[in-house]
């Protein structure tokens, strides 16, 4: 995604953007502005009893030193550096969106923006019939009828295996293949872990899945179906798909607006949540969708972000 520096701003827009960003500076000041460190910076700590060195730190001649750029966080005795731009760091229970890159024996391998491919075992899947049972050789042969290469799917982080590989699970009807929509990738630090990562934006009839790994899915809303009828539905859907049943224009309009909202937020480096996306969609109502990626709208979003953060600090 583009950086702020490469936006074609005119003089006034430049000033307005600078002002907005300055205000953001001001709003966040005091919180932890001095806690930013870069690689090889010393982290000031009292070397009192039992200090726990966390992620992004190392010992150097008795001093605690950062190994990544980021923000120093202290939780009780634990001191760690919360890195900003970096690959995804999985935690158990995270909801992620990924892309299948290989169908292997009894498993699928997925790209999820982690240091390795993630593994989804066939045995960690709820199969079509929805019954918990042992997988048979038949199931193994039919793996390609579930997911094939390049499919986008949603799953949950199950944990690391002994061999260090990351395993996923999809034991729920809410997980599975995502269709009729678009996938966006953003740096994972822009996504905060929350209770809710699946969003059904009823107003626009679209689904929004904000994966913890920075993969964001925006698509037509799909009802989570009853287990028994699902098979028939998917069959008839596939038939439909071969005909010209495209996403209705009104829904597509909203999907594209939501997607561009994510793109703008990513350009500005703002935190990405469903609420903010909805706000931006509203903000964009009067303009053409593609103009959302222009300089003017970008400045508008920055200004509205200032208002939003200001009001949220006041509430506190």
């Amino acid at each position: 995604m583009r950086e702020i520096e490469s936006l074609p701003l005119n003089q006034t827009q430049k000033l307005r953007l600078e002002k907005a960003l300055d205000q953001l500076d001001f709003l966040s000041a005091g919180a932890n502005s001095n806690a930013c460190v870069t690689v090889a910076d010393t982290i000031l700590v009292d070397h009192q009893d039992g200090l726990l060195k966390g992620h992004g730190t190392t010992d150097f001649d008795g001093e605690l030193v950062a190994t990544v750029c980021g923000v120093v966080e202290r939780v009780n005795k634990l001191v760690y550096v919360r890195s900003l731009r970096a690959r995804y760091k999985p935690e158990i229970g995270d909801i992620i969106v990924g892309r299948v890159i290989e169908v292997a024996p009894k498993r699928w391998r997925l790209e999820i923006n982690f240091t390795q491919d993630a593994v989804l075992m066939l045995s960690s899947m709820t199969l079509h019939d929805g019954i918990q049972r042992r997988q048979t050789a038949d199931d193994e042969l039919n793996m390609r009828s579930i997911f094939v290469e390049n499919d986008v799917i949603c799953a949950e982080v199950r944990g690391f295996q002994h061999d260090g590989s990351l395993h996923l699970q999809a034991r729920s009807q809410k997980y599975g293949k995502l269709e009729k929509g678009q996938l966006l990738t953003v740096p994972p630090y822009l996504v905060k872990r929350r209770k809710q990562h699946f969003h059904y934006l009823e107003k626009y009839n679209i689904d929004l899945i904000v994966g913890c790994n920075g993969f964001i899915w925006i698509g037509e809303h799909v009802e989570t179906k009853d287990d028994m009828v699902e098979d028939q539905v998917t069959e008839s859907e596939q038939q439909n798909a071969s005909e010209d049943t495209h996403t209705p224009v009104e829904i597509r309009d909203k999907i594209c607006r939501a997607a561009n909202a994510v793109r703008v937020l990513c350009t500005l480096g703002f935190n990405i949540t469903a609420d903010v996306i909805m706000e931006i969609i509203e903000l964009s109502n009067r303009i053409d969708i593609h103009d959302m990626l222009g300089a003017e709208f970008c400045v508008l979003v920055a200004e509205s972000e200032v208002d939003r953060r200001r009001s949220s600090t006041k509430k506190k």
């Binding site: 490469s6 290469e149 390049n150 009729k180 495209h246 593609h290 990626l293």
Partner: protein, 286 residues
């Protein structure tokens, strides 16, 4: 090549059919184009062009050479493109060669005109210094730094901008050399000649998806194409070159229709590029 699932492909195709692409663009709309000139001071001319996430650099270097025996009164132009591994890991090692040579070939077809030089963006006779003896050899090098679709159009625009930015030293030929000797020349380091770039065409790639054509395709859209046609069009709205990509066959009438759509788009793009180049040159002067 970007891997897309069937669902995503279908979504993209639907959007193109409905004239609403995934980033909100209409079919014949380009992403914002940004141009910077003079980015490689060591070259005689250079430019950087950004289109969406695509970034390319073009440079023009002029060297003294000997004209070919077939065309003694003309200079020579060489176009070459490299894909930097910084743009994508698959370009590592020899991985970028296939794409590089495809792009180089397409640019040669689009910019160099016929064998006699008709329709060429650069008037080759303006490169001649002493007929049959000395001429300028122009080396045009393109480099793909970041790849986000529509590389050919971006390279075409970058080369156009680089040529506008090019200044070639004035050459004084020592008089009195006999006919069969190589005359001595003196290259001025103060006086420079600017190129006439009014004839340089713009390159427009039309990607056919389903029944419709789009311009400035993203990698996702490109991965979905049946076939694409790149045309170069000059100010007079004449076709100066055409190449077809993709293996699927096209009906001749469809090709002619794509050409006419491309010509229509070319005018707007030409104006856009000209004003961006002028603005970039003005910035560089500052």
């Amino acid at each position: 090549m970007v891997g897309l699932s069937i669902g995503e492909k279908h979504f993209i195709e639907g959007g193109i059919a409905q004239n609403l692409r995934t980033d909100g663009r209409k079919r014949l709309v380009y992403r914002p184009i940004q141009i910077e000139t003079g980015v490689i001071p060591q070259a005689n001319g250079s430019a950087r062009v950004r289109m969406g996430g695509t970034e390319v650099i073009a440079s023009v270097k002029a060297e003294l050479g000997r004209p070919s025996s077939l065309q003694p009164d003309k200079g020579k132009v060489f176009i070459n493109v490299d894909c930097s591994p910084t743009a994508a890991p698959i370009f590592e090692g020899r991985g970028g060669e296939e794409l590089s040579s495809e792009l180089s070939g397409a640019l040669q077809i689009c910019l160099l005109g016929g064998k006699s030089g008709a329709g060429a963006g650069i008037d080759l006779s303006s490169l001649s210094i002493v007929g049959g003896k000395i001429c300028w050899d122009l080396y045009i090098d393109g480099l793909v730094v970041s790849a986000d679709g529509n590389l050919l159009d971006a390279l075409g625009a970058a080369i156009k901008a680089a040529l506008s930015n090019t200044a070639i030293p004035k050459v004084n030929v020592a008089a009195g050399a006999s006919s069969d000797e190589q005359p001595e020349v003196d290259i001025s380091d103060e006086e420079f000649l600017q190129f006439d770039t009014s004839a340089v065409p713009v390159i427009i790639t039309l990607t056919k998806v389903g029944r419709e054509y789009i311009v400035d395709a993203t990698p996702e859209e490109e991965s979905h194409m049946d076939s694409a046609i790149s045309i170069s069009v000059n100010r007079q709205r004449n076709l100066c070159g055409l190449t077809k990509r993709g293996s699927a066959g096209l009906d001749p009438s469809v090709i002619l229709d794509m050409v006419s759509v491309g010509k229509h788009v070319s005018e707007e793009l030409m104006n856009k590029l000209d004003s961006e180049i002028a603005a970039a040159e003005a910035r560089e002067e500052e």
